[in-house]
Every structure is written in C-alpha cells, then in structure tokens.
C-alpha cells in the first residue's frame, strides 16, 4: 500500500523478515511512515498493521551480534583488537627490539610474520601498529563527528547567513583534494601522530558538516519537529532533543568509513614521509618500509597489508550493517 514497496510486496516481506531481528534504529519504521500515501476515501481496508508480537527496542550491543554484517565486522575486529591489546603479554619480541643478525627472516614459528631489515618481529610491530592505526582512525572519526555535528546542525538548522558562511568555508576546504590538504597541514605542523590525525581530519570535517547539514535539512521538515514547534519549543531544544539524536546513525555510517579511510591515508602519508614517524610502528609505515623489500621479503608489507584490509573491510561491514538497519530496502 505504500509506494516504497517493490512489486509483489517484496519489501513488505523484506521488512517482515526483520521483525524478529533487531530494531536497531527505529527510524526504519518511520521511513516507511514517510512513504505512506494518503489513503482514499471511504471503506479502506488494510494499512500497515502492527505485527502480532510487540517489537522490542534492541540495544546497540544486540545489533552487533544480530545484524549479519555487523556480526562479521565484530568477528574480524574483535580478535584483531584483542590480539593488539594483548600483544605485550604474548611471547613476542618487543616491537622496537631489533636484531641485526636476524634481518629479513621469512615467516617461521618464532616470527609468524617474519622479520624486517632490522630484525624486528613484524607480527609484534603489526600488532602494535594496529593500535596506532586504529587510534588514528578513530580519532579522525571522532574529530570529524564532533565538528560535523556542531557546525552541520547549526548550518542546517539556522540556514540563511549562518548557513551561507559555514558552507562557504566548507566549500573552500572541499576544493582541495584530501591528500593535498593533509600534505599541507603536515607541512605546517610537522610529522607525527597528532599532526597526522589533524591533517586527515581536516579533509573529513567539511564532508561531515555537509552530511550533517543535509541530514538536518531533511529532518527539519519532519512532523515531530513541527509537533515540538507547536508548543513553542526553543531552537536549542529542537536541535538537542529531536535533530541530533536522529542524525547519529547515518553519521556513524560515515564515521566508520572515514576511520577506515584514515588508516589508508595514513599509509599514503607514510609513503611520502609525512606519516607516523618510525620507529613507532603504524600499519602505514610498516607497509611503506616493507614495500622497498617487496622483491626480497614479501612478508614485511604483505602481511600487515592484509591486516589493514581486514580492518578496513570490517569497518565497511559495520557501516553496511548500520546502513541496512537504517534502510530496510538495502537488506538483501
């Protein structure tokens, strides 16, 4: 009955199929509501009818193991994280400990990922690098989220001059290819973890502001905003109570992808000598170092590369999972 439904009631069943699954973001209900067409006159039968079983609001935690994509993401991410944080307790050579005599050893039981030129254990460095890389990734996502939410909400909600000013600045930053922006900022701030995080975040922030702004614009016309307006709710109330909480989910989709990208951009910066400084290992600089030895010692860059892939893929999975929960139509 809703125009959003594919033929043969496809989506309706698609939706029904999720009844027993988590309702991660209750917006999916609302999405449908938006599509409900005005019904004709007298004597209508049938409209979306509530299911027999009352739905249970399910927490984010539950989502992580009920949603298939999210489950995969967790199945990959958790062991990786666990290993990374348990690394100091594992019987491995310390990540910075070198042993020139054991240079470029192929993977073995003693060194599952082999050793690098300086005889350091690549697995140990990789595990340590995961922490650094994830720190970079998550910090970037957090910074982008924080700026995106504040400026995007203000811009989208107030519109007019405020909007034009914020978006003007955003457009300026968006005019630079992201890597350029990062290179520029690292040039100003110098290399190192914090500058790298700022540099990558700098190109994400305007994107997040844009995203948040568009989300706010679409939410602004929602009926529940009107409902609050009819009781003269102040604007700060509308933003804090009604708008921001409903933009979090789509922002999280973007954030999980942004953190995956940040990890990869850090690798590119490392290649240009602008990333995280060795000997502190990041996945990026391990790969960069190993790239030079690709012909003699494939393992140095390939194995940490595979780890980056796994992390990035699982972050993509996570975002797909969130997206699916947001949009029942995306479900396979």
């Amino acid at each position: 009955m809703t125009n959003s439904k594919g033929y043969a009631d496809r989506n309706q069943y698609g939706k029904d199929s999720c009844l027993h699954e988590a309702v991660f973001f209750s917006q999916n209900e609302e999405e449908e509501g938006l599509n409900v067409k005005q019904e004709a006159v007298a004597g209508t039968i049938g409209q979306p009818i509530a299911p027999a079983q009352p739905r249970i609001q399910i927490s984010y935690m539950r989502f992580l193991y009920v949603n298939k994509n999210a489950k995969w993401a967790m199945l990959i991410l958790l062991p990786i994280l666990l290993l990374a944080f348990l690394a100091p307790a594992l019987p491995l050579q310390a990540p910075l400990e070198s042993n020139i005599r054991a240079s470029l050893n192929a993977p073995s039981l003693e060194h599952p990922f082999g050793t690098d030129k300086l005889g350091r254990d690549v697995l140990s460095r990789t595990l340590s690098g995961i922490k650094v890389s994830l720190f970079v990734g998550f910090s970037v996502a957090l910074i982008a989220l924080a700026f995106g939410i504040v400026l995007g909400t203000v811009s989208g909600f107030f519109g007019k001059t405020t909007d034009r000013m914020i978006m003007g600045v955003v457009d300026i930053f968006l005019a630079f290819p992201s890597l350029l922006l990062a290179i520029g900022l690292v040039a100003i701030l110098g290399a190192g973890t914090v500058p790298v995080i700022c540099a990558i975040a700098l190109s994400d922030v305007p994107r997040f502001i844009r995203l948040q702004r568009s989300l706010v614009l679409s939410l602004k016309s929602r009926t529940y905003i009107d409902a609050a307006r009819t009781v003269q709710a102040p604007q700060i109330w509308l933003m804090a109570k009604h708008i921001v909480p409903n933009t979090i989910a789509p922002l999280l989709v973007a954030a999980s992808i942004a953190s995956a990208n940040a990890i990869l951009i850090e690798a590119s910066l490392s290649f240009l000598g602008l990333g995280i400084l060795p000997p502190e290992p990041s996945l990026g600089n391990i790969i960069k170092d190993g790239q030079m030895y690709l012909q003699q010692a494939w393992w140095i860059s390939t194995l940490p590369g595979a780890v980056i892939l796994l992390i990035a893929i699982s972050l993509h999975f996570l975002s797909d999972g969130i997206r699916e929960e947001l949009d029942p139509r995306a479900r396979k």
């Binding site: 496809r10 999720c18 009844l19 005005q38 209508t44 039968i45 049938g46």
Partner: protein, 711 residues
C-alpha cells in the same frame, strides 16, 4: 468452486484451448513463497479462482493479505526472494506456469496488460512517453517504428489524453498523476490484452481524478472486451466497479461472489465485519463505528486451522484445528468458513452483537490484545445510541446562531502566498497563492471540517493556525490554546524518544510542573486516550499505527487546548483502527468540550464528525455551512462533483447513481484561472464566471456559497 478446484488437480489437457465456454483465466492452488533470511513467508497460500471473458473481478484485502503477490504470480513477476512454488495458471487454457522467460515475455504486455498503483513511480522518469510505449508495441505487434508511434498515439487518444501527439514526446514528470495513470493504462492496453491486471490503480489519486480513471477503465473493458482483475482495499470502488469480488485474507481467498452477494449477504465473518466498520457517506445516523480486533497472522509461522480464528468472535474449537476451504453457499457464492452464514447465523443484526461480544472475548481471552481495544468495548455498550443526541444536536442547530461569547477561533481573510524569485532580472517572480482569503469562526465544542483535493490549501491553513507558517495576510484570533493531531502517526514522533517523553514534551518545554506532577499528568493523559500506562516506557516503533495515533492525541491534550486541529488524522490508518480513532475523537470532544478543525479529503469521515464544513478549492472556500445540509444538498458545483466522485460501498446506490464527472485536472495554483477559480472545470460555467470572481455569499439560511450560478 467446482469439484476440480476442490480436488486441487485438473487434467491439464482436458480443456481445449480457446473454447468458448472455458473461463479466460483459471488459477488453481497457487502458492507463492518469499524465502527471506528469517523464514519463509507464504504470501500466496493456495489460491484458486477463475475469470470469465470480459469480467471484472475485484480482489479485496488488507495489506499483507497477499493480493499483490498473487497478481504478480499470474505473470510470474515476483522479485527475489519470492518464488512461485506450485499451482497452475491457465490463460485461455494455456498453462503459464513453467514457461520460459522468453515465452512469458511474449505474453506480458500483450495478452496480459498490467496497471500499477502509483503512476508517479511506475513510469521511467528519464524516458519520454514515446520511448516507453513504442518499444513494447513494436515487439508484440511487430510494427515498424512509425506505425508503432501511430498506434501509441491512437491509444493515448483513446485513454483521453489531450494533445496526444504533443504529449507523447514529454517526460512523465511533465504530466499530472492522473495523466500518468492514463498513460499507464494506454500502455497496458497497447496490444489488446485479454486480461488487464490493475493493482490499486487509483489509490494514489485524488477523488475526482479517481472517479475519472475508474470510469475510463470501466468503459475500456466494456468496449474492448478485456477482462480485468482489480486489486483494491476501497470497498466503495468495489461497489462501483466490480462484477465479481474475491476477498483475500492471509494468502487465501476467504470469500468469493458477485458484487451484490458480497455486499448484501456476506457469509464470511471477515467480510461481514469489514462492511460494518466503515462510516457511510449516505448514512444519516451517527452510529458508533465498529472495530475488528487483533492483527492478521504472522505469515512466516505455520497457520493451523482457520487463519481468521483469532479475530473471529464466532470461532469455535473446530476453527482452531481445521482450516475451512472455500465452500459453495447460495448461487456461485463461496466462503471459507465452517459456519454457514458466518456471524449472521442469528440474523443480520447479530453481527453487531457478535462483534461487540468478540471485543469482550478478545479482552478476556488474550493478554496481548491491548487495552486500547478495551476502550472501544466500554463505549460500545452505548454504541447503539446516536452520538451527541443531547448536546451535540443543540450545537448543530445553533451553529449559525450568533453567539460571539463562545467563539474560540476566528480567522479573517487569511492569506498565504509563496513567492519564488528568479536570479535573472528579466524573469518575473512567480507567486503561489496557497491560501487566498479564507474566513471562518469556530465555537466551543464545535467541529469544522475542511475538505478539498490535495493542493487546495487545507494543510497550509492548519500550519498557519499552529503558527508553523506565518500568514502573509489576514488575522487569526484565538481564545485559549491550539494543538494538533498530525496525519502520519509514523513520522510525527521522534523515534528516539519514549512515549512518556513524547507526551510530556509540551510540559517540559513550557516548564510546567515538577517531575512528579508531570508523571501524573502523563499517566492521566495516556489513560484518557485509552492506553495502558505501561506503554509509557515504550518507543513509538513498538506501537501499532492506531496506538500511535492515540499517543498523538494525548500529546495534543497535554496543554489543555481549546482547539485541536486534526490534519487527516485517520488517512494513514487501517480501517478498523480508523474507527477507533474517530470514536476517540468524538468522545473527547464531548467530554472536554473541545473544538476541532478536522481536515480531510475523506468525505465520509468528515461528515461523520463535523458540525460545519468548509469546502476549499485552490486556496479559497467555495462552500461553507452546516455539515448535514451540505452533504444532503450540495449547492456549489464543485461540492456536488466532489460528493459524486466518492464511491459508496453499496452496489445498489452506485448502480443507480448517474455520476457527473469533473472535467480536467486541478489548475496550477501558480496560474489559477481568471474569474472563478473553478471555472476551468465547472459544468455550469458561464462567461461571467471566467471574468468575475464570485464572492462567498449567504445561501439559504445557514450556508455560504461562492458561485454565480447559485446566487
């Protein structure tokens, strides 16, 4: 149903293809399942029926009853993960199940034409009409491109598209919804199909356009001799249009018969209840509406026994174990119920009592049925009484008696014009007059209904009343507090807030009361709208549409309003729930002496609830006055046309009506016709009408009408 159908198997070679006596379409024991990740949804679960040549069969059912899936199964266009599992579909004796895609493609669009619900989305937006029409014609009729275009033009003319040779090269977005639906019909007809499948073809359209399309379909099937299978949830349309009716419930046909049989002597409890839950346009008395309890079954779970047993007041032990098949009743009528006459076992009137009893049973029997339904039960006790027999009648009579002391809302010459300015200096600004000078008064305890087609300005008026939009002219004087119940119970709540927070939000914003006081008020409110306070801890997504709409009402009541604007409060709801909400609003009106501004295009509901009516057309009120009088004796030609366009769920009335269709479509509000706004579509138009705008003048005693012809 004949014996073959009951047996479920037919010798496939028994029928000679094309024989004259043979039905056009024979469907036997059709099963279509959707293999979703969380289980198999048996959307179509053993459907058998026949369509004769030239016959119009209506399929009626709630959403989720499998009617669309069934229709798509006939041409085997079921999207993944759906699959036709078993059964037989014979067109002219030729078995369709098991044909290859290529063979099916030869039939689709030629022998079987299809018209879909939403013309806005069913045409390819980036292709011209010509591009979309010509290729299938060339394919099926083996015509050259020029002939195919000529053929397409002929079809467009046939479906009443003016300037067809120009329109054929336009894009769908350049056409109105009605025009698009005509194009869809032309496409479905393009290869002289033997059968047309129409899936809710008018649901997305306005009433006057709906009437046009229905007439068109009727004429076309009559002239071309095509049979038609017509899916709808609108019983009025069924009465107006169908010859045969099949009622679907939970993937099965539960009742089948001629349109007269179904409307006059329904046999299945479901059909019987449905017909009782709708307010009637022609009904004089305000009788409390009935409601069907419960929800349809979960189609993923196996259904043991009758699928309707949980909602059926007459369900017995047998219904729990054995599933009734379609069994012949009188004539060709079939029903799937163990009881011969369903709820009418003890006579026609017993349906009401049975239903009421059913509501009681539902309450005591099953815990999961919420107290919302119980609210209906308590009031049903006095349901036989006309609502507002004492005070309500008094208000009605006094509606036009001046009593300024009691006026709670007065709007005078209200305007809302939207301006669109262009960047280029040589381009003129365009102006849309959404609301163009309307005035009315509302007294305490009175309900005014505002009706009109989409785009007439009724929602803009509501937004101005609530100060969501600033008027560009005129005055709104309000005595007290105004609140609103929104149309869409799905989007009018923040999905991240609990019900308690939603109801108390107005109090929180206004900083009324302490935490404890607020809790108390919220509990009181939710009980007032007939829900259990345990719902306060839930989220909107955990509530059904009807329950949400009750919450919407509770929220509107939080600040003790004197006026409540109800903007299409029932149009997004299922019919039984709709009845609940209307009942609730009526109760509150009485109990709290509330005044309502009731906005709707659903004329029967408006008539049921309103004391006064304002009919709007292009931002102006064309007729204004007491509700009953306008409905019984409409004065303005537009009001007349509007009322005529609404189909009545009674085949006898429909058959006897001579329907005067409105010509054309709603003009753009950016460029309204000169003179009377209605002049472009009015059947009684004169030269005067195109020159001078008629003012709203008193007509008879208690009405105002803006028409040169009337005054």
């Amino acid at each position: 149903m004949d014996k073959g159908a009951a047996a479920g198997t037919i010798d496939r070679n028994a029928d000679i293809p094309g024989s004259a006596n043979q039905p056009l379409l024979q469907v036997r024991d059709l099963h279509t399942h959707f293999f979703t990740e969380s289980g198999i949804v048996k959307a179509v679960n053993g459907v058998s029926f026949e369509i004769q040549r030239g016959e119009r069969l209506a399929i009626v059912g709630e959403s989720g009853s499998g009617k669309s899936a069934m229709a798509m199964s006939l041409i085997q266009l079921i999207a993944y993960p759906g699959k036709l599992v078993s059964g037989s579909v014979r067109l002219d004796g030729k078995e369709l199940v098991g044909l290859s895609e290529a063979e099916l493609n030869k039939l689709r669009g030629s022998a079987i034409g299809t018209v879909f619900q939403d013309p806005m989305t069913s045409l390819d937006p980036v292709m011209t009409i010509e591009e979309q029409m010509v290729l299938p014609i060339r394919k099926h009729l083996k015509l050259g491109s020029k002939e195919a275009r000529k053929h397409a033009l002929g079809l467009l003319n046939q479906v009443g598209i003016p300037d067809a040779d120009k329109r054929i090269s336009s894009y769908p977005f350049e056409m109105s919804g009605g025009m698009r639906q005509r194009v869809m019909i032309a496409m479905a007809l393009s290869c002289k199909p033997k059968l047309i499948l129409a899936d809710e073809p008018t649901t997305a359209l306005d009433v006057t356009i709906q009437a046009q399309i229905v007439e068109l379909l009727k004429t076309l099937t009559e002239t071309t001799g095509s049979a038609m299978m017509f899916i709808t949830h609108d019983l009025g349309l069924v009465a107006r249009f169908a010859q045969k009716v099949a009622v679907m419930y939970a993937g099965k046909i539960v009742e089948y018969g001629t349109v007269d049989e179904i409307f006059n002597s329904p046999r299945h409890p479901y059909t019987q209840s449905l017909l009782k839950t709708i307010p009637s346009v022609s009904g004089e008395k305000r009788v409390r509406l009935l409601q069907i309890q419960g929800f349809p079954p979960d189609m993923k779970l196996p259904i043991i026994g009758c699928s309707y047993k949980e909602r059926c007041p007459a369900a017995s032990e047998r219904c729990n174990n054995d599933s009734p098949e379609l069994m012949p009743r009188q004539g060709r009528q079939l029903a799937a119920c163990w009881l011969k006459n369903g709820l009418m076992t003890e006579g026609y009137e017993s349906i009401t009592t049975q239903l009421s009893r059913g509501e009681l049973n539902a309450l005591t029997k099953q815990e999961r049925v919420n107290t919302a339904d119980a609210a209906g039960v308590i009031t049903t006790e006095r349901s036989a009484l006309p609502v507002g027999a004492n005070e309500g009648d008094a208000t009605r009579i006094n509606a036009f008696v001046a009593d300024d002391a009691n006026i709670v809302l007065q709007i005078t010459d209200l305007h809302k014009h939207f301006k669109k300015t262009s960047m280029l200096p040589w381009k003129k600004d365009s102006e849309i007059r959404a609301v163009n000078g309307i005035s009315f008064k509302l007294r305490r305890g009175e309900t005014i209904g505002i009706v009109g087609e989409s785009g007439c300005g009724k929602s803009t008026t509501a937004r101005m009343l609530l100060k969501l939009d600033e008027p560009t002219g005129g005055r709104i004087e309000l005595n007290g507090n105004i609140q609103i119940v929104f149309q869409d119970p799905y989007s009018s709540f923040n999905p991240k807030m609990k019900i308690a927070e939603i109801i108390s939000e107005p109090l929180d914003v206004r900083k009324i009361g302490t935490k404890e006081e607020k809790q108390l008020i919220v509990r009181e409110l939710i009980q007032k709208v007939g829900l259990d306070p345990s719902y306060l801890e839930r989220y909107p997504s955990q509530l059904s549409g009807g329950q949400r709409q009750r919450i919407g009402v509770a929220r509107a009541l939080a600040l003790n309003p004197t006026v409540v604007v109800a903007d299409e409060p029932t149009s997004a709801l299922d019919v039984s729930v709709r009845a609940q909400i209307i009942n609730l609003l009526c109760d509150l009106k009485e109990e709290l002496k509330l005044s309502f501004v009731f906005i709707s295009h659903d004329l029967s509901t408006v008539r049921y609830i309103s004391d006064k009516i304002a009919v709007m057309y292009l931002g102006e009120i064309v007729e204004y006055g007491a509700a009953e009088e306008i409905f019984v004796n409409p004065a303005h030609p537009y009001t007349k046309a509007l009322l005529a366009a609404v189909p009545v769920p009674d085949p006898k009335i429909e058959a006897s009506r001579s329907i005067e269709l409105l010509k054309g479509e709603l003009p753009s509000p950016a460029a309204p016709p000169a003179g009377c706004a209605f002049s472009s579509r009015c059947p009684q138009v004169t030269v005067l009408c195109t020159e001078r705008k008629p003012a709203l003048q008193e007509y008879l005693e208690r009405r105002e009408v803006a028409c040169h012809a009337v005054s």
